[in-house]
């Protein structure tokens, strides 16, 4: 009769097998570093444990490579057995020494944040374990770990739970940091790609200042570079903010937004290149991070709802109730003159960015099918110009209303639609006419340009 083995028996057997496997791997050719985790209790593996060890694996690889650039491991294998997950690195014995490997693994264990959970062993080419004789400290107290274990100083399940929860918070932090960096990069790219798109009607481009005389391409590069780092602060705010009513986050986002404006003005010698973009990108950053953290992935609809919740009541508060005695922004003046149609970036935000999510993004989705990194300059221009036209044909751009009037806006929308229709038939003449008309008449659809940048941003998030 087949004897049913207990978990402990299987664990003991797995450790024996693992040792045999390690000896076999050295093949008389390699020194071996093995990475495993010291987690008491069963089971030895889980989703969190796997994610954690893979993370430690990549950290160790970077740690080793940064300290020894001349040679690397020859082979790298991940394993999982009854005794848990482990990873083997095999080093050619002619290129390194077992003692160097031991020094490096020990330095890693000492510097890595959760190094006490991590166990890196070195086996030399003969299969002999290299020991430094140094005693590891306990995960819970600072006594030598072996003495705590032998004396059962801490409850085993308590140690296990602490380790698992520390791993989880560690991964959480790592993942949110990576997410924030990535979205910051996406936003920076979206702003740069928008200004680099050429030619554009009335807007600053690569080789043309459009309808502008006080700023050029370089102003946009300088401003973008200086405002981008602050997006990480907004990302961190999105992670730490925990009030159910997210509209309470808006003033906190604006505090950072004001720092961004200051950085912009410093970079451009007091020219407003990005004021609207800062508002839209700041609330977008916050909302994207919230959505990804809560939904596990980026969802356009959830994004739209979050933006709208975040800016709930902003039109009433900041546009309707303003009076002429206050120092007004361009957007506020437009609203005073023309009402809800001229609610600008605020109206767009409060309604969940309809121009982007209902018009521009679905339109771009119809033109491009892959991640933006797959396309070259020409291909991107061909796709993004019609998207800009689409936005211009529906957006009541307060930049245009403020500098011109509502009739010019109506004509601009009409001409944009016409240029778009022709563009889709492969005729670019109407577009070029629109570009000249805007440049000559001093019409700059800056609000539409900002919405194009948001569209580029959301497209990247969707294909992430």
């Amino acid at each position: 009769m087949q004897q049913v083995k207990t978990e402990i028996e299987r664990l003991l057997e797995a450790r024996e097998m693992r040792m045999q496997q390690k000896l076999a791997l050295t093949e008389g050719r390699f020194h071996m570093v093995s990475l495993q985790l010291n987690i008491p209790g069963l089971p030895k593996t889980s989703e969190i444990v796997k994610e954690f060890i893979l993370h430690v694996d990549s950290c160790f690889q970077k740690f080793y490579t940064s300290r020894c650039c001349v040679h690397s491991w020859e082979k790298h294998f991940p394993f999982c057995d009854e005794a848990g997950d482990w990873i083997a690195y095999l080093f050619d014995h002619e290129l390194t020494t077992a003692s160097f490997l031991k020094e490096t693994t020990e330095a890693f264990e000492e510097t890595f944040v959760l190094g006490r959970i991590v166990d890196l062993d070195v086996l030399d080419i003969e299969g002999i374990p290299i020991s430094s004789g140094k005693a590891k400290s306990c995960f819970i107290c600072n006594e030598p770990a072996e003495s705590c274990r032998k004396n059962k100083r801490h409850d085993l399940m308590m140690v296990r739970e602490r380790m698992l929860s520390d791993m989880k918070s560690y991964l959480d932090k790592e993942n949110s940091d990576a997410l924030i960096k990535k979205v910051t990069g996406y936003i920076t790219y979206a702003l740069l790609q928008e200004v680099a798109l050429s030619p554009k009607p009335g807007l600053v481009c690569r080789n043309h200042n459009g309808a502008h005389t006080d700023m050029d391409f370089v102003s946009f590069l300088q401003s973008t570079a200086m405002i981008s780092p602050y997006l990480q602060d907004i990302g961190n705010l999105a992670i730490s903010f925990n009030d159910k009513d997210i509209s309470k986050a808006l003033p906190q986002i604006r505090e950072i937004g004001l720092q961004m404006e200051k950085a912009m003005l410093l970079a451009t010698q007091n020219i407003n290149t990005h004021k609207g973009a800062i508002f839209l990108m700041a609330i977008s950053m916050f909302s994207i991070i919230r959505v990804v953290r809560h939904e596990g992935t980026f969802e356009v609809e959830a994004f739209s709802n979050t933006i709208s919740e975040l800016t709930k009541g902003i039109v009433e508060r900041e546009l309707i109730t303003t009076n002429t005695h206050m120092k007004l922004s361009h957007g506020q003046m437009c609203f005073l003159d023309y009402g809800p149609e001229a609610a600008g970036a605020r109206g767009e935000a409060q309604n969940g960015m309809p121009t982007v999510v209902k018009h521009a993004l679905p339109f771009l989705n119809g033109l491009l099918k892959e991640n933006l990194t797959k396309y070259n300059d020409r291909e991107l221009s061909d796709a993004l110009i019609p998207v800009l036209l689409k936005i211009m044909s529906v957006n009541s751009d307060t930049n245009v209303i403020f500098r011109k009037d509502i009739n010019t806006l109506a004509e601009l929308k009409e001409r944009s639609q016409k240029a778009l229709d022709h563009w889709q038939k492969g005729e670019k003449d109407e577009y070029n006419k629109l570009v000249s008309w805007c440049n000559n008449k001093g019409i700059s659809p800056g609000g539409s340009a900002d919405l194009l940048a948001v569209t580029i941003l959301l497209y990247q998030c969707k294909y992430d």
Binding site: L12, R15, M19, D121, G133, A135, E146, S147
Partner: protein
């Protein structure tokens, strides 16, 4: 239990113990070579435990090489039992080199 061949059990993984046993001539007595990462504090405990277990199996003549990586008492007993059974050829897999 009558020991017949060299045998080993365990591993050099952390918190495990590697035990090699070898039969010796009757009347030779017990020779135990112990190396442990916790030698100073727990070396005597490990030796005592091994002697107690050998008493239990009525084994008076044996050579044992022990390399302890901080195993807890139940692991030590389990590994010793397996090594002895492999040596006595009552359990498959001697794992001798």
């Amino acid at each position: 239990m009558v020991l017949k061949v060299k045998a080993q059990a365990g591993s050099f993984e952390s918190s495990d113990i590697l035990i090699m046993v070898e039969p010796v001539a009757k009347g030779t007595g017990r020779t135990i070579e112990l190396k442990s990462i916790v030698m100073q504090q727990f070396g005597d405990d490990v030796l005592q435990q091994i002697n107690r277990d050998l008493d239990h199996y009525n084994i008076d003549d044996i050579r044992i090489i022990v390399n302890d990586k901080g195993a807890l008492p139940p692991t030590i007993s389990a590994r010793l039992e397996t090594a002895l059974k492999r040596s006595a050829q009552v359990q498959a897999g001697t794992l001798t080199k």
